[in-house]
Every structure is written in structure tokens, then in C-alpha cells.
Symmetry: C2
Subunit: 295 residues, 2 copies
């Protein structure tokens, strides 16, 4: 009505961007650590200030208007710049107190990291560790995590990756299941078993196994999951056989290597962080401890 054109509330812009990217007010609220009514009000206030309707309320769903879509284009750049600021700030923080986020496959988060995390906490009690156990690879450039543990070579620019000692992986199964399968003794026999597998990781695994004389195909994987934990649970319960890194399987007494004659599969381990963040004291500290542990 008679709005003095004071600068727009940047938090309201953040609310709009988060809502668009998350797809709903509720999801955006969770992501920002706020509540859904708050976000709803912020977006509404922004629409009021701007004088345009960003969302069209159709049923329970918010769909962007044309005007909203044009806004979001520039808004994403603003968000990217905000991320860069946060990144730059984190990089220059020389405090050993604060949060360090680590992302890793859920198997690693659950079975490999715990003793390591305890060591870090003991060495630097001021550091709060946050572990993102995620199947999909999170985006380091968007600062969803500070350090990532990956098993493929990172290809993004701006990242520094440190390759650690390879881990050996084998195909495991419970003794009970292996007995029922007739104790396969070579690759060809193993290729007749059903296996658990990760949804987006079986192709390279099949190729790797074929080099070792195990003629697998997609037909060997009737059970797929994006959760490494789930797949491993299937193996531990004798539902099927499946591959696992040796460091994890060693902690699981109820399984054994299905065919010891087959050579282990080398699994590379990369520790990845931003080039920026490598100058942060506490992130550097955690990174170095991870490197030491994996080397």
C-alpha cells in the first residue's frame, strides 16, 4: 500500500529459495531449522513486499507462477553467493571449536567411523562432528558437508582429494546359506548365487568380478537397495550373498568369505574436501586424522 521501499528482507528471500528448492514449505522448514508456519508467513510477507504472487495455491501444492520462476533464477545466484560466503567464512575460521560435517556411505558411517570419531572427539573436545550417512553423494560445493569419504575419484573442480590405502572387498555369506548353495568353490559357481547390490554401483562391480572369472550379470541382483546397511543386513541374515569391504565384514562374525579362492576386490578410498576449507584449522585437523587412520 504505502510501503517505504526499505531494502527487502533477505531472510524472506532465503525462505522463498528454500521453499522452491525443497518443493514444499514443510520440507524447506525442516531444512532451515524453522517451522512450516514461519516459512509460510515469510513467503507471504515477501509476496506482499514485492507486490507479486510468487506461488499459486492450488490444492495442497504450491506451484511457481511465471513471475516466480523469473525471480528464482536470480535467487539461485544469490543462494550460491551465500554459500560461497559461508564457505569462505568456514575456511578462515581458525577456531578448533565448531562443527565439522563428514559425509560417507552409511556402511562406513556405521561400522568404520565410530572408533575414529571417538578418537577425534578425544583429541579435540571442542569439535562437534556431524555425520551425513547418505547413499547418494552429497554436494561438497554446496557445503552440505565439509569432508567426504568416497570410493570414486572426484571430478569436480575446487576439490582436493587425498587417495588413501585401498581397502579389500570380498563376497560374503552366512555359513548356513553357503551350505545350502553347495559351497561354491570358484567364480563360475558363485555366479549362480543371488546377490545383494547397490542400485547405482553394480555395473562397475560386475565388470570387476568378470575380471576375476565370475561371470555375473544383472540377473544376479534380484535385491537392490540404495542403502548399504540394508543390503548388508540381508547378507547377515542369510537371505543372499553380497560384497562388502573387509574392514566391515571383520566386525561381523556371522559371515564368512563365500569363495576364498577369488582375489579380493580393491576398493579405493578418497578423502575429499574443498580447497577453501583445507585452510580451516578444525576441518584440517579432522581431515588429517582421517588421512592418518586410512593410511
Amino acid at each position: 500500500m504505502k510501503e517505504m521501499p526499505g531494502p527487502i528482507d533477505w531472510n524472506q528471500m532465503r525462505a522463498l529459495l528454500a521453499t522452491v528448492e525443497a518443493g514444499s514449505l514443510s520440507a524447506a522448514a525442516q531444512r532451515l531449522g524453522l517451522t512450516q508456519p514461519t516459512l509460510g508467513r515469510q513467503v507471504a510477507a515477501l509476496e506482499e513486499d514485492l507486490g507479486i504472487a510468487v506461488f499459486e495455491r492450488v490444492g495442497r501444492r504450491l506451484i511457481l507462477t511465471e513471475a516466480g520462476q523469473r525471480l528464482v533464477a536470480d535467487l539461485r545466484e544469490m543462494g550460491a553467493a551465500a554459500d560461497r560466503v559461508a564457505m569462505s567464512a568456514a575456511a578462515q575460521s581458525q577456531s578448533v571449536e565448531g562443527v565439522v560435517r563428514i559425509t560417507a556411505a552409511d556402511i562406513y558411517a556405521g561400522h568404520v567411523l565410530p572408533p575414529l570419531l571417538a578418537k577425534v572427539r578425544k583429541a579435540a573436545p571442542g569439535i562437534t562432528l556431524e555425520v551425513l550417512a547418505t547413499g547418494s553423494i552429497s554436494d561438497l560445493l554446496r557445503r552440505e558437508a565439509d569432508i567426504a569419504i568416497r570410493h570414486v575419484r572426484p571430478d569436480q573442480d575446487g576439490l582436493i582429494a587425498r587417495r588413501c590405502r585401498d581397502t579389500a572387498a570380498y563376497v560374503y555369506g552366512t555359513p548356513d546359506l553357503l551350505d545350502r548353495l553347495g559351497r561354491p568353490s570358484n567364480g563360475v559357481e558363485l555366479a549362480r548365487c543371488e546377490m545383494s547390490g547397490a542400485i547405482d554401483g553394480i555395473e562397475p562391480f560386475i565388470a570387476e568380478m568378470r575380471q576375476r572369472g565370475v561371470p555375473l550379470s544383472r540377473a544376479n541382483f534380484p535385491l537392490l537397495t540404495q542403502s548399504g546397511m540394508t543390503g548388508w543386513e540381508w547378507v547377515c541374515r542369510g537371505i543372499c550373498v553380497g560384497p562388502m569391504v573387509e574392514a566391515v565384514a571383520r566386525q561381523t562374525p556371522e559371515v564368512e568369505i563365500a569363495v576364498p579362492a577369488i582375489d579380493p576386490i580393491p576398493v579405493p578410498v578418497w578423502l575429499v574436501t574443498h580447497r577453501e576449507l583445507h585452510t580451516s584449522r578444525r576441518i584440517r585437523l579432522v581431515f588429517d586424522m582421517l588421512v592418518e587412520h586410512f593410511s
Copy 2:
């Protein structure tokens, strides 16, 4: 200490950027329509969240630390993106209610615009007009104004400029002063008079007058000001002679043209706005009314 790494408060970033650009908390507060304690707290909270010291409190002055300088680099990009969002939003606002900011030389703001503003307000009562009477040219690209009235050809990209009918300017003086000066009747005699002038506009004016046979030099301008209003006041009070557009001088009965024999100086008039903002309904409305008036 134990800060859950929720996204950074964007308003705190805005506070920091404004403080850096304004040079002090107080100035930034005025610019953002907030108060100094509020801004101080926001900046302090941001420093706490980021874990780094952005400012070094030395005496009454805040000077950026090295870390702060690196932050600000990205922060400016964020601010620029925010401006683009605001611009895009304003451009798409099809409401005839809202604020339209016009920037013009103070002389225009005081003597030429008033009747025009009344006309606009009558035609569109929902529009709030805000006039920035500024000596220096404000930055349209940073959305300090929606429409600018200028007398030089705009060279920035992204702007659309509409040239209007030129205005004639003469050198004026009070009859009393002209009598004391011996009633100069040609350019050479006029060049012996003292004149008022704008700090950053006398060079082209001198060149223009020389073409008309008035051999002026910088020595003719012992009184300089960046305020057109002030300079004209000097002329009206008989302190010196000085140039003025005819449309303004006509409203001032106490002055007369110093040397009628000299040809008038054509003063171009450009109306300038963003290419973006030209699609805004209310800005387009005001712009068109200005064009109509000046043509």
C-alpha cells in the same frame, strides 16, 4: 560452541555488507531503515556464528580484518544478486500501487517536477512518488531509483533512455547586479563577470559558451557548489550571475537574462530507466507521463 550448523541468517549478512559499504554501523542503519544497536547486534551475532572476527574494534572505528575483506568480496556478489531479484520483482509487479523513485538534479526536483508530480498523483493516487534530489548521479543499476532525469547521454548498459525536447538555458542575473556590472552587451563583456557554477559541470559549460563568443575560463567561477539550488540562490540574491534553464528562471521574476544577444544554450533532457523496470506497470505509467510532459 554447540551451534547446529543451520543456514546462516541472511539478514545478518545484509547487515555486514551494509556496514562495510556505508563505513559505519550508524550510516548502515540509516540506509537500511534500522537502528545502530540493531545492526551492531546483527554483525556481532554473525561473527559469532561464523566463528571469525570480521571487524577490529579500534577506538570508534570498525576496520575490516583480513578475513573480513575476503568475506566481503563474495558478499558483494550476494548483494548484487539481491538487487537483481528486487529489480526483477519490481519489473514484474503489475500493480499500480506502490513506490516509484525519481532522481533528478535538485533544481529540477524543486522547480520543474512539482506540478508534474501533482499530475501523476491525480492520475494514479495509489502511487507513492519519492524524489531523490541529488547532485551526484545516482546508480540506476543498483536500483537507487526507478527513473532518472539526466542531461547527459547515459552510457551504461541495461538502461533505456528517451531523449526529450531540449531545454534552453541562459545566463541570468538580477537587474541590480547587471546595472552595477555596466550592463554587459556581448560575450566578451560577460566574460568579465563572476559566475556561479556546479563543481562538476563547468568544463562543458565553458566549452559551450566559448562557441558563442564568451571567452570564459575557470577564473570566472570563484563560487562553486554541488548544489544547483544553492548556486541559483546566489544568482537570485544578486551575488553573481549564473546559468539556468529557462523553464526554471521563468518562475523567478527577480532575475533577467544577462545578455539577450547571446544564443541560448541547448540543454538535452533524457529520461532513463531500466530495461527491466520498463515492464512494470506503475513505473511505465510514470515514465510515460514524464515523457509526455517533456515532449
